[in-house]
Amino acid sequence: MKITNAIVEKHGLKLEEYSKIKELLKREPNFLELGIFSAMWNEHCSYKSSRIHLKNLPTKGKQVIQGPGENAGVIDIGDDDAIIFKIESHNHPSYIEPYQGAATGVGGILRDVFTMGARPVALLNSIHFGSPYHPKTKTLLNGVVSGIGGYGNCIGVPTVAGETKFDSTYNENILVNAMAVGHANKNKIFYSKAKGLNKSVVYVGSKTGRDGIHGASMASAEFNENSEDKKPTVQVGDPFTEKLLMEACLELMKDESIISIQDMGAAGLTSSSVEMASKGELGIELHLDKVPCREENMTPYEMMLSESQERMLIILEDNKEKDAKKIFEKWDLDFVVIGKTTCTNNLTLKFKDKTVGEIPIDALASKAPLYDRKWTKTKLPEKNINIKDLKKIKLEDALLKILSLPNQSSKSWITEQFDQMVMADTAQRSGGDAAIIRINKKEKAIAVSVDSSSNYCKAHPLTGGKQIVCESWRNLISVGAKPIAITNCLNFGNPENPKIMGEFAECLIGLKEACEFLDYPVVSGNVSFYNGTNKKNIDPTPVIGGVGLIQDVKNKINHLLKKEGNIILQVGKTFGHLYQSVFFKEIYSITEGPPPDANLSNEKNNGQTVLKLINNKLITSAHDISSGGLILALVEMSLPSKYGLKIEKPQKLSNLMEFYFGEDQGRYLLEIEPENLQKVKKILNGNNIFNESVAVVQKNYFEMVGEFKINIIDLYKANNKWYNNY
């Protein structure tokens, strides 16, 4: 077939890129080779627009065993224990086919984790939808939630935490980010780098079908009105097969037969074989007649580009085939040697005794395009609003309104569709600042959370980037964990637009500053560009997945009020920053102005001190103050605990709304028994941390002296009514 410009463009490649392909090959590619280039050079696989910025992120640390570049990041949590984790997007497929898109997002991220030798122990998700009243939202929401549950529940990994947000920016392009966390022995971690010549390349798992062909290319372009036609590019998941694959791989990993292993995710057989060869600086030869196929008459093009799920590529040590095959047969899975490593440094594809494709590995990997795209800076917006000019509203009315909005309403109708308890190590489920998973048969535990704040990032990407790392760090501290490292999923619009590229570049600068300052390195992640439809881009939405360590699970803490008469102490100073707050947006429809400042040194000092207080058992509950401000944080402590609060207004108060709805950063609420109050205050004051008592725990009523008194049952009703009526 003659390669025309139209065919090149249909493969998502620019004509300049096609010229570069010809230059690298020193000839025209054939159709199969073009398909392979398109799979490897698209944004999703090559990170061609983002690499130049990603390399600035801090990725090293005392506890980092493996940073970005492998299937997932690896951290050391002491003894022989390692935690392996990563977050990844499946936005485009989920918008086209919500159930399968979300399900295979979970499946893909689980494979990234068990490929490296870890048993997955927790799943998290961050999902963003358009306005709840947009005609598509309900179907998408239902599909995504049941897809996430359908996969995780079946494979038997608890879905323990997440966030669900609604905003019209996602009307035409939802976000589905899934994170998996696994536990491994740190001396038994498996990598994708091939080693040795003439080693067997083994295909294991499901058969290859025609599903998901060009899925990664689809995820590297904006949507338009014809996006529905892309349904066949969405993969179909089978969690039962993944369970078999996981158990078989973990069983094989017990001995010494694997040289390297790589899951077939985006761009399937192509990217897995190229990645292994590229890291090992070797060639790889595949005999495509041997690939187990689900359908008849599949062509090499289809086999190389299929994104059928639940498949792995393994390079085995000599003479290990027989024993390895036995394990896969036990689990009723295919196990076929389809090729070998070579010294040619080429990807060589054979079919029916003919060489049907031959491409230098480096042309696909290290020589893939790298763009330093133009980007523009975002100025810090000005503060143009005087709160005194706004129409007055009663604090009680504002609170009840905010509590019953889709974004602030209880999300139990989502989390109750997930099995949070399978594996019987979930020491804290969703609903708190972070979930806690005990390491099986040990006393230590990890805390995990996911966070995003797209409106802060939109208003000022640099500050937003910093803030979101701080929030992640604060969430882990609030359950008594020492934050160790993060994974990030960077969801942005079209990188060819300098404004969007600027949002990306500046968010990353913010991330870098915060991660460096807090010693909270990035160990894995994923970039998702082209989130938008017909030139309408989503707001920048970096999502941070954080992992922290609790040395003794008995020291865990949550945000539930514990005892009548206990005192609630606010740690960190309230300045009353209302720009970009839930209050401004929902009560006055004001979306302008700067996000709250992220003061890194306060953040670090406050966090470390709070963690010390928790470890010294001086406080009975803790909660971070985030979106919605102080008053929402107080409600969140009260609601699930069935205790109320008596809130005393501070004596010197410039403005009630600023004080209670302001979203200043670096703040915590601590519940303290009266006899410990002086001790706690002394430690805080000794560290120069501003603190003030704001409320006392009482029965039945959520009350602010001189303002309102609400029965907590009514508070609960307000928080739960939205979904029941949706």
Partner: protein, 225 residues
């Protein structure tokens, strides 16, 4: 006491139940679904999960597996058998327990803590519980909506073959506190001889105060004596 836990390829609560059994001093063996013999067991547990992916119908394929033939034989000889969640579904598919588990009435997967009340404790599985005790258990299933014919339900009620019913925190058994739509709020049932128990809630998730609660412990300690 010797116990055996049956492991299907898609079982996912097998490890959890093994941990619980070991903690409570059972001598436990894991038994693979392709095996054709069972080790000597006083208790056989069919754990939760998705045995063969739950394609066709939950538990339908598992009911025809090699090892289930042996389980049926032992059960008929009086061996104690406990089926939890998918295990309960499998037991109804084999006919060892009558009735069926339909899709939850809200047509969604339900994963949450619920309360059950001990209705009958005069049996080998529950005698360490007090009568009418309210227990906090965890459920996680798509098909837990127990249904059977009027004669059988009468038989279950009359012969005290219902150990647990769904209720609220205070023990009220009503439709509001019936998470999945089960007939008479049934959370678990016995066969006539009370040596086979099938239940949807997961007692093995409730054996550790630091994780959840220890309301499941007495089920296992009942079996030990």
């Amino acid at each position: 006491m010797n116990s055996s836990v049956i492991v299907f390829p898609g079982s996912n609560c097998d490890r959890d139940i093994a941990v619980a059994l070991k903690k409570l001093k059972f001598q436990n063996t894991m038994v693979w679904h392709k095996d054709t013999t069972l080790p000597k067991s006083d208790l056989i547990v069919i754990p939760g999960g998705f045995s063969y992916g739950d394609y066709l119908r939950s538990g339908a394929i598992a009911a025809k597996s090699n090892i289930l033939k042996e389980v049926i034989k032992s059960a008929n000889e009086g061996c104690l058998v406990l089926g939890i969640c998918n295990g309960f579904q499998i037991l109804t598919e084999t006919g060892l327990l009558k009735g069926v588990l339909l899709r939850n009435k809200n047509l969604k997967f339900i994963g949450k803590d619920i309360y059950v009340k001990t209705i009958n404790t005069d049996n080998k599985f529950c005698h360490k519980y007090a009568q009418n005790q309210v227990l906090k258990f965890n459920i996680a299933h798509n098909e837990g909506n127990y249904f059977t014919n009027p004669d059988h339900i009468k038989n279950l009620e009359d012969k005290n073959l219902i150990p647990f019913k769904y209720c609220d925190e205070k023990g009220n058994i009503d439709e509001k506190n019936n998470p999945n739509g089960s007939l008479n709020n049934i959370a678990g049932i016995f066969n006539d001889k009370k040596n086979i128990l099938g239940m949807m809630p997961h007692p093995e998730r409730m054996v550790d105060q630091i994780i959840s609660s220890d309301d499941g412990i007495n089920l296992f300690t009942s079996l030990l004596n």
